[in-house]
Symmetry: C2
Subunit: 327 residues, 2 copies
DNA sequence: ATACTTAATGCAAACGATTGCATAGTGTGC
DNA sequence: GCACACTATGCAATCGTTTGCATTAAGTAT
């Protein structure tokens, strides 16, 4: 059904090798302009599409990079996908997307047919999985808050960012500061949580964690209202991300709580929406463009030179102070 | 370097065929439990990973579906990606993502190594591309506002939605109603635009289009302020999507314009953020979950039965009336 | 005219799986 | 003890490319 190089060869009166050299581009300089022209002509007429499977079977390259994401939910994630896809596309590669929030152990998840893996915000327990890939010569680059010793990474130092955020809340006078986080992200190694705990300890303040079931705004909005009812009102809240912060914001406003006077609020990530609230939201802005660019650079550097030393880059986030935490 | 079935065969003392039958699952019932066990054991020890390229070369299946998106920018897109990826994953398939907003004609875009294509909000001019794929037996399913005669589709009737929205604006008393749209989406066949034009014509009102360079909120926010300065204030605005509507909302509030009293506002899509404005935003909610589910159903139905008749499903969106358009 | 280089092309062996068909082994009925 | 069915396995062809090496043809220096 599909056109093969053999058919083209027959029609053009040349050998399959010649067709391959013309069409793959790999040996095009060896071919005389006239045959080249003829082959291209025939290929076009027969609507030839190379069989990528056959090609990658022999070349060992798929020209596809896997993008592993912990979640694909918010505009923040969309932005990451778009930035990465764009870079990969410019390198002539496709993007295979995989959400790893659910269990990865099942089914086909281990069978990657890609040239490399970009992992965004993937927790440390995946190290075990990645080791298998690396042993097979499959580059893995991690991007996000997590620092891995085994793989190349570009990390945004959200621990430092968290410290700045919580110290800022303390400095504006908050004394009962809570940290809100979704259940799945609530584990050791969550840089924001660690930073929160550290900053509170150094200030001699007690910690309190508010756990939400998921990252949806509505969840945070509901949970914060219940929480306030049961435990009273904190005077500052640091949120794992902006989505939750916006949910909290909305939930509190519905209770008639004034932000920032009653509760000061700081989110994390720096998504666009934080600007678009009545009381603009303070947040820890991640340098997303830079992160995605560098992650791709690292990946392609390793593809070009598989034995280079493992490299880690740490980027500093920036505290964007807005009205929600100023008083 | 990588383990092959041949190596496993040698270690386990069986033939490659046997190993294949065990590992591919396709002939597992033919194999005695004891050899089966032994092969699995060896495969595990040698950390076997099947070579997908080789497999799909002979089976003709890649177990990968391409998801074509016009844009990947907002939480709306993230939601689509997540829903689709989830469905495909449940079918054991991977998701290859491709943003087609930029030119598709260049480079590798035509060489798809997938089992099918899901196209979300992809404009009609892609018909030409899809025809090539279909001729090769590659199923294409379109989802979104567009109705295609050539391929299976599940369309949200945004024309009907647009009509309802604009008539609603007229009904609450607006007389100078503008339609805001980004430059790229502003072409014949944009269902929302067509609906706007139709509704205005039937009411005997003049049309006016406000063109923004892109879908970012900040763009709409800037453009609307310039627009108001140059042409004065409309008393109603219907926006191509919620992102723009939120940008407009913000831009107008900065001008001191009151919503909905001075300007009534309706967006489109029904993203979560519309609820989280001081003046909640009216919007045309798309039944996203249903759409994604049905699109995948159509795709798998066609994969199972390639010659079935082309099927189209039309879903009705819903006008969510909120404060931004009630007066 | 000969030897030697260079350019253009073909031959055939991979790449790593799957699968139709053949075959060896094992039990069953008569 | 023979024919037969059935189960478990192996053989070898095949999928559609790429690519190292051989070969032919043409040009060039001696």
């Amino acid at each position: 059904m599909r056109t093969t190089i053999r058919q083209i060869a027959k029609v053009a009166g040349v050998s399959p090798s010649t067709v391959s050299r013309v069409l793959s581009g790999r040996g095009a300089h060896l071919i005389s302009p006239s045959t080249r022209e003829r082959v291209l002509q025939v290929a076009k007429e027969l609507e030839y599409q190379p069989n990528i499977a056959a090609r990658s079977l022999v070349t060992g390259r798929t020209h596809t990079i896997a993008l592993w994401l912990n979640e694909i939910y918010t505009s923040f994630h969309a932005r990451v996908v778009q930035l990465i896809e764009d870079h990969l596309w410019q390198h002539g590669d496709d993007t295979l997307i995989r959400r790893v929030g659910r269990s990865l152990l099942a089914s086909h998840a281990y069978t990657e047919h890609v040239d490399g893996i970009l992992a965004h915000e993937c927790p440390a327990y995946l190290d075990r999985v990645w080791k298998v890939f690396q042993r097979r010569g499959l580059p893995v680059v991690s991007a996000g808050a997590y620092v891995h010793t085994q793989v190349d990474y570009v990390a945004v130092d959200l621990f430092a960012g968290g410290l700045v955020a919580v110290r800022h809340l303390i400095q504006v006078g908050c004394r009962r500061i809570a940290y809100m986080v979704n259940a799945e992200s609530c584990h050791v190694g969550d840089a924001r949580r660690d930073a929160y705990d550290t900053a509170m300890r150094e200030a001699g303040l007690p910690t309190e964690h508010i756990i939400v079931p998921d990252q949806r705004r509505v969840a945070s909005s509901v949970v914060i209202r219940e929480y306030v009812q049961n435990y009273g009102l904190p005077d500052g809240i640091f949120c794992h991300n902006d989505e939750m912060a916006i949910g909290v914001y909305h939930g509190l406003r519905r209770l008639g709580v004034h932000i920032p006077d009653d509760v000061a609020l700081v989110g994390c990530d720096g998504i666009e929406d934080t600007e678009y609230l009545e009381v603009p939201l303070s947040t820890i802005r991640q340098p997303l463009e830079q992160m995605c660019q560098l992650a791709c650079d690292l990946l392609y550097a390793r593809l070009a030179e598989p034995n280079r030393e493992t490299q880690g880059i740490v980027l500093q986030p920036e505290l964007v102070m807005r009205e929600s935490s100023l008083r």
